[in-house]
């Protein structure tokens, strides 16, 4: 359901078939460049090599330790309101916002913190959720904070509508869905690989696999870094 809920995805020309042929595994570095920097870099790559560049497809395979959350993780837990004075479009405040990602999770339930004390980035590129991930406020600060902290993908059973849309619009996170209740299956810290080309999540220590729902046409938009960059790459916005 949620994949189709990226309004207009059906109306957008897509490059999935090209991207789908790539299956290289991207090792996620612990320290990542801020998304704004990446956006500039990606733009250059595309203008040089066009949309057949494999860089984007690589981002659909994400490997690393996962951070496991439960049902109804609302935006106040993802980024408490006291940090909303930070303006995400300002690069230095974007970085700071990331350092507070998921800080609102209750301490007694989440003793392993998403971002350790004194750190700006997370060591978990993959966040696992249950039902209705991202409910509550429309604050785009929520997916932005997670992306700024270094998260690449959320894998949950369902999403709240605005959070899903904000993930895709900003290109900060892949909002990947699954029918499996992974929050009962996985433990925080387990090394997993999320492969959105093959639509499977693999636990690296055991090889156990869980099916994912296709990311669909939300994928290329997140690959591009959000709707504006996607629109430029696909000719929806004319570049002078």
């Amino acid at each position: 359901m949620a994949v189709g809920a990226l309004a207009g995805s059906a109306a957008l020309p897509h490059t999935r078939s090209v991207l789908r042929t790539r299956s290289n595994v991207a090792q996620v570095p612990l320290q990542q460049a801020p998304r704004h920097a990446l956006r500039v870099e990606r733009t250059r790559i595309v203008s040089a090599a066009g949309s057949s560049n494999g860089k984007a497809a690589n981002t659909r395979v994400i490997r690393g330790p996962c951070y496991v959350t439960r049902d109804n993780i609302d935006t106040d837990q993802i980024i408490p309101a006291e940090y909303l004075t930070l303006v995400p479009s300002k690069p230095e405040e974007y970085e700071k916002l990331g350092s507070y990602a998921l800080i609102g999770l209750p301490t007694e339930l989440y003793q392993s913190r998403f971002i350790e004390n004194g750190q700006m980035k997370t060591r978990y590129p993959i966040v696992i959720g249950g039902q209705n991930f991202g409910c509550g406020s429309s604050r785009e600060h929520a997916p932005v904070a997670m992306g700024a902290a270094g998260a690449k993908v959320v894998v949950a059973q369902t999403y709240a509508r605005i959070f899903f849309r904000n993930c895709v619009s900003t290109g900060e996170l892949y909002p990947c869905e699954t029918d499996v209740r992974l929050c009962d299956e996985l433990q925080t810290g387990e090394e997993v690989e999320v492969d959105m080309n093959k639509d499977v999540l693999t636990v690296l220590s055991t090889g156990k696999q869980y099916p994912l729902k296709p990311i669909g046409e939300a994928g290329p938009v997140v690959d591009a870094g959000g709707i504006f960059e996607y629109a430029r790459r696909t000719g929806m916005i004319k570049i002078a």
């Binding site: 359901m1 949620a2 189709g4 809920a5 309004a7 207009g8 995805s9 059906a10 109306a11 109804n72 609302d74 106040d76 837990q77 408490p80 309101a81 006291e82 909303l84 004075t85 930070l86 303006v87 995400p88 479009s89 300002k90 609102g104 999770l105 209750p106 301490t107 039902q131 209705n132 409910c135 509550g136 406020s137 429309s138 604050r139 785009e140 600060h141 369902t158 709240a160 509508r161 605005i162 849309r165 904000n166 619009s169 900003t170 959000g226 709707i227 504006f228």
Partner: protein, 498 residues
Amino acid sequence: MANLVGSSSSSFAGSGLYFDRHASKRCVQHVCRNAIAAPPASSRAPSSTGVVKKAMTMTEKILAKHSNNTAVVPGQNIWTSVDKLMTHDVCGPGTFGIFQREFGENAQVWDPTKIVIIPDHYIFTSDPRANRNVDILRDMVNKYGIKYFYDITDRSDFRANPDYKGVCHVALAQEGHCKPGEVLFGTDSHTCNAGAFGQFATGIGNTDAGFILGTGKLLIKVPPTMRFVLEGEMPSYLMAKDLILQIIGEITVAGGTYKAMEFTGPVIEAMTMEERMTICNMVVEAGGKNGVCPADETTFDYVRQRTDEPFEAVQSDSGAGYIEEYRFDVSKIQPLVAAPHSPDNRRNAMDCRDVKIDRVYIGSCTGGKTEDFMAAAKLLHKAGGQVKVPTFLVPATQKVWADLYGLPVAGCDGKTAAQIFEAAGCSTPAPPSCAACLGGPKDTFARMNEPQVCVSTTNRNFPGRMGHKDGQVYLASPYTAAASALAGTVADPRDYGA
């Protein structure tokens, strides 16, 4: 859809509350009726003959009209034109930041008369970044010539700022920006509040809002509509807040995800605009995309008193298709609370009488309107006595604040709400803003900085919502909040004369 199936069992089923839920077969019935009235004709679908007009819900009709379609169906992706875009101090600076980054420094906004900017979240704080964000909004308003900006420059006395209003959703209504049939987007999830006026209104993120700033359009998916029919006699001790808590408790915090929630029936027809706003305000707490009430004379009177701009109301067709229909007999509903930590954690207030509380909060877009304070004051006056816990009052807007001091409360010997609150020992009404509803900076008025228990007329009670991560928030109506203030525990307003 799968997440809705199986949610039909009602904990109230055995207690006399009738509750009728079924997947709507209205479309099918409609076809059958037509078959009786008209001779059998071609096998072509009625819509393809051009003879039969497609029956639509009011949400579908509004979106069809705004996308130059004669008809739309749920699931259809459309480009809708936008009548109004609202933003505030928390999301406005980022929205303009994206607009400038993506459209360029020299770009102009699509229509400076259709953008409404309402600082309201973090106003009365010494947080320098919060104050800066209001300054950024002012710069943007000047740069782009934006017509509607409810500015504040003197934070020491909000009354010295005649333009300043307060909480955006209530200000939008009071200043005449909510009109039947229109499409409103706002960078705040409670933008759905405006659905009370029979319009399409929903919350979006900064990036989508930045897109609208440049184009006046947005690509959205037409939601299927859930229909909620509210009937029966409304008891004196219930408020609209109880009804929406009942509904959210029934369908859960995800039950309306991606859907329009249409509220109708005699109970809605008898409601004031403020009560309808309370209902529509909280549809996002059920995950809903938008909430909507049919526009009627009550709506038109309210709107015409506030704007001369024309509008065109639309109504749902009798044969429109609904994905689900719920019916509630409101006379059977009890005063309710949503217990920590979820708005769908529904309890009868009387079953929580053993919950000791530390404070009461009356305020926000949901529960800080004039009628909310009038109701709380009326209960306090009739019951008499002093509140047992600190009771914080935050009028949503400057107009609400003035009403507290200027309007006599019905049936209370000519006393104003402010006089009644003072006599009962409540705190002095604070300057209008979102205040502690969402926590905010540490120095925010009435923020929960300790792990306390609060009964609140606000909209959310997820962990940390009002400040402290271990705080506990019970969402309630103004009646229930006032009764709880007198009791020092969660209380049933019937025990205090409601």
